[in-house]
Amino acid sequence: MDTAQRNIDFHRLVRDAPLINHICFDACSKTVKIIYSSTVPLSHTTLDRKRVDTEKSEDRIYCIQVQYPDFPLILQFFGDTCPLLKGTTVDFVVTASQNAEIEEVIRKALDVKLRHVEAFTGLVNGTSFLLRNIEAESFTYSFDESQKYEFQTLNTESIYPYLLINIRTGVSVVLVDGPNKFQRLGGSSIGGASFLGLSELITGVNDIEEMMDRALKGSPEEFDIFIRDIYGDRAANFNMDPHLLAASFGRVTRAQTIRRAGEFDDQSKNNAILSLLRMVLYNVSQIAFMLSEMSNVKRVFFNGFLVRNRPIVMKTLSFACNYWSGGKLKACFLRHENYTTGLGAFLEGCPNADMYWKEYCSGSTALGRFVPVEPLETGFKTQTFALKCARFKAAPFCLLVDKDGKPDAIDFNTDDEARDFWIQILDNTIAQLTELAIASQSGCPDQEDVISRAKDFEHDFVKTMDTIKEHHVAYGNSNARNLLEVREQILQEKGFDDIYVQKKHEEKLSAVSELPTVLASIDKLKEAGDEKAVVEYVSRCLLAGNVFDWGAKEVVKLMSSEEGLSFQSAIERVENRPWLFDGFDSYYKKHKEYKSVLIFVDNSGYDYILGVIPFARELLRNGAKVIICANTLPALNDLTYREMIELAPELKKADADLAKFIDSEQLMFVQSGQESPCLDARRVHEDLNTVVQKYETDLVIIEGMGRALHTNFNVKFKCDTLKAAVIKTQWLADRLQGKMFSVVFKHELGTK
């Protein structure tokens, strides 16, 4: 196929091209990986529905992989469209000595100087970087026929020490002890190139993808000797599996006449390739296992061109690791392993490399973050991977018991029914959301642009959902949190930073005006002296506030109806005790003991102002310190940190007690670092941990469906927790054996 036929849309492939300010090339044997960064100015939507530039900008890193025949085209595109690159020095990863030609091409096309970067350090730093930042970067693969992926999210502390097994020409084994601390433990000359070389010598096949296809069709019986061949059926007597491989290619010489490689038919070729693959991979994993034992490492990552998400390779490595270690050691892989070296090399000169970087899934091409089985080298299929800098350092929430544990209550990778339901729901809301997006910027002079961006959003989102429908592990873990987050990311990418901004504002005005009334009714109860009634009332307020949720279809119907939804009617909607999950008595018994409380809030407007604030006020009056934590960036109609800060003066105006608490900093505000309607406590803003540790938080309150049900429902914390939400979807109500508007009020004691 020539270029014209392929019709490559370079601007879609190379995102933010005109703003590219640094670039790094990693020229491998078959593909070139290009890692580049750009600083993109951010805009925001105003209350009068306009889109204005902010002073802020966002750093992004993109990784693209192209094949050599397409490389000149891409280079030319870079040369034509990236003015910022001219005359700069770009990075070039030195992996082989024969790169002079490529270097010259790059120099000419881009008008740049080249700086050589050492490959090995890049490999290690890139791997650590990905593991530290990217959710579900690490995964294990099943060694039976089930083809199951299991993803793990690691953090800065939990990743070390690990072994990196790099299967390239040969094999290198590296022990990584900490950031920038690594040593090469050893290696082997029997690696990827040995497999390719021997395969070609024996079968004449020289394409790696064909070899992999053939290996899948092969059987090891023709060439290999198994334990049962030596011991017969009595092998079981020795506690040795009769099916265990005893000698690779040992059977060749046992036949009466030795067949030479030239005489092979198709099936024999398949068989030989499979036997070779097993020989190489079993050997690699044995070395990996031995070295992991000797260096006391629990996690082993395999990467290199031979691995590359190939099911047969991963299955074989997983099987072998399991065999050698007796089940103790699991072979781990990386979702973005092909970019490790390039990314690591790129990061050497990146000032924000220590910050928290998030995977920008919407910035990836149609292939998604990673789609298994689809081989990379077919046609012009580039794979891209996009990251954005969160401009702060993230760490696991310090009160988490299991800092690597999944927060999600339902795993869509295993729960097909839940996945189908959610994708259906999201598909159904897309039209409405697109309308809302357009409406949020209806004051912009260029409406055509607004509509086109909104359509882009719709298109990209539908495509993303389709990808997940087809390969549900395409984005690592699929769960409610990830699906909702992808939606927010695509909106942001298309210039819709906050489509609920006006709705949030309206609701806030009305809630603030109602606040004195709600507080007065609490104070009236308080005067009556029934403490329990007061606590139950503020709890009902908290739950009633949570009914106001633009993310819940049923509630949106109520709110959009003619009479609307008043806070008072919402309180009435909250079911009477006993609740579906009723921890009220347990909470009431301890509520006066709490000295320092952290509240993760959900929606803005009624939820926050009439629900959370009155609840917090009672805690404050009891003498507790209260820290309220909101999202850093907008997601649905959730409260953001900025909005929370802006609201403080109005709260002070509304109530003298609140004014006192805010002024004395007994009530404080902090940002979570999140930008999703859910809460992933494995990656929170470091400031949050600082205040939680400083004030010795002894109660964590998590509010709302997204944070307390879809995520964190089963998560354990070191201190006591209160998980409060109202169930607002029939489907979830059915699952939890409740009904619409059932109450979850879970009080859990900390596991010290």
Binding site: T169, A193, S194, E200, G232, A246, A247, G250
Partner: protein, 445 residues
Amino acid sequence: MGHTSVTSPRRISPRGSPPHLRRTPPKYRKVLVLKEKRSAEPEDPVMDELLLSSKLKRVDSATGCVSPRVPAVDALPSAVSVPRPAQKAPKTPYVILPACDTFEKFRKISRVSVDIGGTLIKVVYSSVMDDELPEESLNGHTRKYAYEDGKRVLVNFKKFTDLDRLIAFLKEVWTDRKSGDVIHCTGGGSYKYSEIIMKELGVRLQRTDEMRSLIFGVNFLLSTNVDESFTYHHDAIGINKFQYRPIAADLIYPFLLVNIGTGISILKVDSPTSYERVGGSSMGGGTFMGLGSLLTPAQNFDELLEMANRGDHRNVDKLVCDIYGGAYDELGLKADLIAGSMAKCNRFGEAPMKQTHKPEDIAKSLLLMVSNNIGQMAYLYGTRYNLKRIYFGGYFIRQDPITMRTLSFAINYWSKGEIEALYLKHEGYLGAMGSFLDEDGKLDD
């Protein structure tokens, strides 16, 4: 990555080896080999010569003490130069059993044991000798060997590639067998072929445990034969390439035994009765021979080995300098280390021109690949179990200079000189030897 064995003038070559270690010149060997294919019994000249020699430098394995080499190395008191008795000494490898109560019975009844492996069948059998034997066949020992009547009991070693030939041979040498006699048998094939053996020879079959036999064999040979184990030093000249490594009987344990057969078994041995198979590998002699057979015209193991000796792996392997243009100092990788075995044999679908590789080069690369890997595995298991002495057994090494050099290099390289590769003169016969001695086998019905 493993070490390359660059073809250098110092490489042990058929012509450069000390006279009594001399390999049969290639041409002659080929004839031999071809003959073997048809009817001749397998010959193993290099092995035999080394097994019959006792004239190497001795360095005590435990103390490092060097004992003076037996003088008159140049005079070569080989089997030929000792006048009368030598002519009666067997031409195949043997050891003399010390004269003691345990072995006394073999003066009257012959014993035969076979070890049937994945590729080879090894036989150990006793015979009685009236005459003096050459001094070197005492393997450095000064113990009493002759019984009062002047008779000596010998243990003979022999290998076969197929069962029919073995049976024919046993029928010929085991003349005093009676129907009540037992043949000791071990190895995987002892199950598969037990019925044929019993039927053909008209004896009963006593099967001994494979691992136990192996350990019995090593134990007996190390403690009885002072000159059983030796090291290989490639850079030394002539006979100095080999050094005996005697070890006092009470210091033998613990050690690591790497048994290289068709596949590989790695055993951690704490005492003659306490041992454990700690690991293994599917890349052993069978892999070398199997891949070698597919890719070269070699007809058998020795021919393949001999081919490897003439090859240059640099034409098929990628060395560190092929990738980085020189040494990779940051990682401490020398320029001539093999980065990828056979890595030059794939064209990545690029050049359409057909590259042809010489079978000799391929054989050399295969040998280095397999022996480097064995050396590395041995090092890994040795280090993990904190064992400083690693013995190699099995019928893979055959005193081949490239193999020994690679194994020794790999172990030295990875252990930074901490661990030494120790070879055994009777490496291939450990299991058969142990089976010979083991009285506790199970009779087959």
